[in-house]
């Protein structure tokens, strides 16, 4: 017996590519791109969003019949804020340096549109199990983009991955640097993230032409 039924696995797999929250639904770009200069920060950010979104989706879906619809936004904000405080405190306790790099962007998970978007669009109308899977799927779709952007920016910008010098040492001129390769400082600055993302969208849409927008 499969672990998940076909419908359930679709909930998880769909947001990874064809219904990706960042490149298709255009949600949650806000806090995502400023922290992708290093792969490590991108991975931690993706994991934080995974935790907040899956747990929040479950909580909202359990509460969905109790919440009066007029004040649902406030209730949703409180649930997210509580979860984000947990993430923030855990990061400060176990990865202090990293929490300094992420600075306010952990807090900004609260206003990450993916989270409110999924609460509104899915958790308010479905049971906890489905909501959990939907949360996992969307957070993974978000995480994949973060990791791809982080991968290219760190590799081309600093020649490292997770801080390991994979392309050789630029100071002592080993590896690729011995044949005249240089790091591209352009990839470190914030706007480069947008351009990398634009290129990802370009590649994705030229492969799947159904996604092309009518201008």
């Amino acid at each position: 017996m499969a672990l998940l039924s076909k419908k359930d696995s679709k909930l998880v797999l769909d947001p990874l590519a064809d219904n990706n929250p960042i490149t298709i639904q255009v949600l949650g770009i806000c806090s995502a791109l400023a922290i992708t200069a290093e792969l490590k920060a991108a991975v931690v950010m993706a994991l934080s969003v995974l935790f907040v979104l899956s747990m929040g989706n479950v909580a909202i879906s359990l509460l969905r019949n109790i919440i009066p619809s007029k004040i649902r936004i406030i209730v949703q904000l409180v649930v997210v804020a509580a979860l984000v405080i947990i993430v923030d405190q855990v990061l400060k306790a176990f990865a202090y340096e990293l929490s300094k790099t992420l600075s306010v962007f952990v807090g900004l998970i609260i206003t990450n549109c993916i989270i409110m978007g999924r609460f509104e669009a899915f958790a308010l109308g479905n049971g906890p199990k489905k909501a959990f899977l939907d949360g996992i799927g969307n957070a993974l779709g978000y995480g994949i983009i973060l990791v791809i952007v982080g991968f290219f920016r760190e590799l081309l910008g600093s020649g490292t991955l997770f801080g390991f010098k994979v392309l050789g040492d630029p100071v002592t001129k080993t590896g690729l640097y011995s044949i005249g390769y240089e790091n591209n400082g352009f990839m470190i600055i914030p706007p480069a993230a947008l351009i990398v993302l634009g290129i990802i969208i370009w590649v994705q849409r030229s492969k799947n032409r159904a996604l092309i927008e009518e201008a």
């Binding site: 949650g28 806090s31 405080i85 923030d88 206003t111 706007p191 634009g198 370009w202 032409r209 201008a215």
Partner: protein
Amino acid sequence: MLEHLELFFKSIFIDNMVFATFLGMCSYLAVSKKVSTAVGLGAAVIFVLAVTVPMNWLLDKYLLKDGALAWMGPEYADYDLSFLSFILFIATIATMVQLVEIVVEKFSPSLYNSLGIFLPLIAVNCAILGGSLFMQTRDIPNIGLAFNYGISSGIGWFLAILAIAAIREKIRYSNVPAPLRGLGITFIITGLMGIGFQSFGGMLTGDNEPPEEAQTTTVKAEKEKEKEIKKEIEDKEKAVSYNEAINK
């Protein structure tokens, strides 16, 4: 006065919310198809930031900071409630937005008609919460500067959305490659505009001095550490060779 001017230009151009920190990107992308709606949303953002940043500054100063509760008496002086800041800031923002909406609807129906539909959107705009959180991490010293920070970062956001909306209106007549149409080209244009805005970075040289000093000191500290490590290694080698000499 000078610090006000400096903060004003710094928040509009150098630390521009959209181009330097990517705040408020969702609504920036969603509402920038037409200049007129972009102006409405931009004005609403300026307005709400100008109200919420000073409010949250007061909360931070008298409730959340380490030792902020000292005004309630000496036994409260040790409390540090700063872990609660996310939840309080977002609650303030949500309530203020509701309040502003009600007040504007009551007293200026024409303004409400132009801003009204954007106000609920703004409660979950990252630019608003980001403004308050940056105000907290940058330790803005007094409420006047906090107000200034709110307004000027709002203006920065307004300029950004106005510019992209104008470009998107024009780009409709250009021959963009089909897969890039819409979202893709908007990202790339924003990136290019961001690179343009980076050139403002050298404008206020006075502000760049402290971090440079800090960097040189850390570099110095690192060099000293390296020296120490080298010394240790040399000492060890000496000791080893000394031991060997003795053994011989």
